[in-house]
């Protein structure tokens, strides 16, 4: 009988590998920093393991693709907060990967307590990678009016200018302070936990693995990620007191290309040029504020007015417009770099002749998506630059949905506004010259 176990990639990898080894299930090629998606357990051939982003694990166990999974409790609760499913059973706390889920405000904010925040008459903006827990928190605390903005990451960078609250996971309140944040409530204490699919627990013999994992104790060996913020945090304001134009720049793969492009445009930005960017780089223009976000999040935050301009991918803009057709975000410039194709991918040996895909279920993923095929999905919608990663995983492209590259997007209302329009035009013009190769002197 095969037992399927979903393992986390990222921060929990080291401790989880140590736990498995200590429990007698050492898995070759699964250790801190390893990149194999299907590591094998030599001592227990009936154990099938696959490596996922932590957030995907609770979902995979809930839908029954995996009997067991290891991820942090916060991701399990995030799933259960919206989908009151009894399909996921929390079997045990594994004791490592401890962190708390905090509701935080900016230290520079005037409202630094929940009571002060609740007393606001305006709608409260809450940003989080945990939108379901954020909504649950708002309802439980009887917040009168609120908007939840989901983020792929970097939620802590939004307050105070772009949100009143962020819901973030952090190992200590000291780490929040380093980021210029102050906790107003602790929502959840979290650590790595073993979760099981209810049907598997009821109908399959998982006892060998359960007994070994639940009785083994390992310390934290995982390395905490460095906090990606600069020394200076808090609201950036115009020296002249004029309205500030806000520009969002991408982190991740797009960053080096964006740095090159901004240099070509003659826009010097401190704290963004080399290595890991700070969350709030400085641009040498008065009345312009810059923050670094996930490019996936930018269209939504430009739409809701948190940012006036952003450099993101056309794929993310298109995805956003598909979801919100009347959104006040428009593409202002094609920037030409970061070209990718959005493709439909299947296994090499799948006899796929057409793309008639009904009925189908859409399963969201937060990374490591190549690993889903063939066991946990039939078709993958993915972006690719050269196709080499796809080929490396024994996959083939059956269709190209569209091509994408970086673009500058803007909020239509801000562009047309009297107080910001001129400054926005100046920035757009500088970037246009960058595209054309004639930077502003």
């Amino acid at each position: 009988m095969q037992v399927k176990l979903a393992l986390p990639k990222g921060q929990l990898q080291g401790s989880t590998a140590a736990l498995l080894k200590e429990a007698g299930f050492a898995i070759g090629d699964y250790r801190e920093g390893s990149r194999s998606y299907r590591p094998r357990c030599e001592v227990f051939p009936g154990l099938f393991t696959k490596v996922f982003h932590e957030k995907d694990i609770a979902i995979q166990v809930a839908i029954g693709n995996y009997d067991l999974g290891i991820c942090r409790l916060d991701w399990v609760e995030e799933l259960l907060a919206k989908y009151h499913s009894d399909a996921v059973v929390k079997v045990g706390d594994l004791g490592y990967g401890k962190r708390s889920l905090y509701a935080v405000a900016a230290s520079s904010s005037e409202a630094k307590s929940l009571e002060a925040i609740r007393s606001r008459s305006e709608s409260l903006r809450i940003v989080s990678e945990y939108p379901n827990l954020a909504e649950s928190f708002a309802l439980k605390r009887r917040l009168r009016r609120f908007q939840i903005f989901p983020a792929w990451g970097a939620a802590g960078v939004y307050p105070p200018e772009n949100a009143e609250l962020a819901i973030v996971a952090e190992t200590s309140s000291n780490r929040l302070q380093e980021q210029g944040l102050v906790p107003v409530a602790t929502i959840l204490e979290s650590s790595a936990c073993l979760v099981a699919n209810r049907n598997s627990l009821e109908g399959k013999d998982l006892s060998q693995l359960l007994a070994a994992l639940c009785s083994t104790d390992v310390g934290d060996v995982d390395v905490e990620e460095a906090v990606g913020v600069g020394a200076e945090v808090g609201a950036q304001r115009s020296v002249t007191g004029e309205p500030v134009v806000s520009l969002a720049l991408p982190d991740g793969h797009q960053q080096p290309h964006t740095v090159d492009f901004l240099n070509r445009a003659g826009l010097k930005i401190d704290g963004y040029n080399v290595g890991r960017p700070t969350a709030r780089p400085r641009i040498g223009l008065d009345g312009v504020m810059v923050k670094v976000l996930r490019p996936q999040d930018m269209p939504l935050h430009v739409a809701n007015g948190s940012f006036d301009l952003a450099i993101t991918g056309r794929d993310w803009l298109r995805d956003h417009h598909f979801r919100f057709p009347s959104s006040p975000v428009e593409e202002l410039l094609q920037l030409g770099f970061g070209k990718v194709r959005i493709v439909a991918v299947v296994m090499q040996d799948m006899p796929a002749h057409d793309n008639h895909l009904t009925p189908c279920k859409i399963i969201p993923t937060w990374g490591a998506s190549e690993a889903f095929l063939p066991e946990d999905a039939d078709v993958l919608i993915e972006n690719t630059q050269t196709g080499s990663t796809i080929a490396k995983h024994n996959l083939k492209i059956i269709d190209t949905l569209f091509e994408s590259s970086a673009c500058l997007i803007g909020n239509t209302e801000a562009i047309g506004s009297l107080d910001k329009g001129e400054k926005i035009s100046h920035l757009v013009e500088a970037m246009r010259r960058g595209v054309e190769g004639h930077p502003l002197s």
Binding site: H84, D86, S123, R125, E135, S136, A138, L139, K140, R142, L143, R144, R145, F146, Q147, I148, F149, L300, A303, N304, H320, R323, F324, P325, S326, S327, P328, V329, P359
Partner: protein, 407 residues
Amino acid sequence: MKVPRCKGTRDWMPEDMAKFRQIEAEFRNCCLGWGYQEIRTPILEYLHLFTSAGTLSPDMLGRVYSFLDWDGWSGERVVLRPDGTIPAARLYVENFQNLPIAKLFYVENVFAFEGTGEESRERWQCGAELIGGSEGDVELLSLALEAIARLGIDPVEIRLAHAGLLRIFLEGLGLSGEEAEVLEQVFCGNVDALLDVKGRNPELEKQLQLLFGIKGSSPGFVENLRSVCAPSLPALEPSLDELARIASLLTDLGFGYRIDFTSGRGFEYYTGIIFGFYSSGRRLGGGGRYDELIPLVGGGSVCASGFALYVDELMDLVKEVPRRERILVKAKEDEGLRDSLEVARLLRGAGYIAEFDLGYEETSDFRWIVDMRGGEGIELIDQLSGKKWRKSSPAELLRFLEEARCK
């Protein structure tokens, strides 16, 4: 491949719809007769209508169907209406605030998630709201009872409680911080939650036992409560006065009732008297006074009360709906079809169901068969007696049927 219906939903079959329409018709007729006007609020409302009112419990809000609409980029969530009263209050504030009183009713569905998927997550309610009057409780009770009686449901028990009185009691317990969640649970109907704070205030605890342990059935019970509780909690007096007044009125009107403080479930926005209707062990509906709701949704300081009857519960108890008599019409073809259509039209006009024989009908389902395929006249067959008649005209046919119906 069969596509199943969504989990937590139900299909209504023809017999269900017949019952639903009967309940709806009786309720509408009652309300119109009492001078109430029908409204219908949208199935989608902003989530903040319900959160800003601050009146629905987090548990209930946690089960609403909320999502981002196609233009939800601003983060403004919408919900499938989880409650009928709060949208009606919003509608009142938008449209009727200039009137001294608004008497409104609705037949609407409400939605709440239910985990097993075995219960329907969509529920229908017949609701009435009396906004602007401070004396409407007995009128609403009478209206609800009349609607239930018209459906042939008997006996019906009224259970009374008082939200204001309960709140004052619980405040008297001096619950703090986390313990305030107990209050939340009690307001959701879980009276057992009070066990968690047992011993906090021995005197009040004794009174709570009296409050929840004994069911009153007369104004005298209210006076008993007053004599035991009011000396230590004088703030109870106005609530006791109101409860005593309603109890006396109901006694005078000949309505039986029980004063039962454990019956006040789901009364988060109620401020005064609460009533529930029960029959055959089922809760058929409930309502009460909610004087603070209109200000909470942006209106003026206006008193209000209302009730809702639960259609799904009523459907299980309502007697079989009397059906109109069905007549099968065997029609001539071609040039004779026009005569057959005219006879069928006249039969429908006289209140019968006239169905054409398409060759698939089970003739035993019909008492009467009107056969127009022969020569002169109309042949009428009574399948009960096996007799046949030939009628010379549609008018003669109708007269004959009417006489037979009267026998």
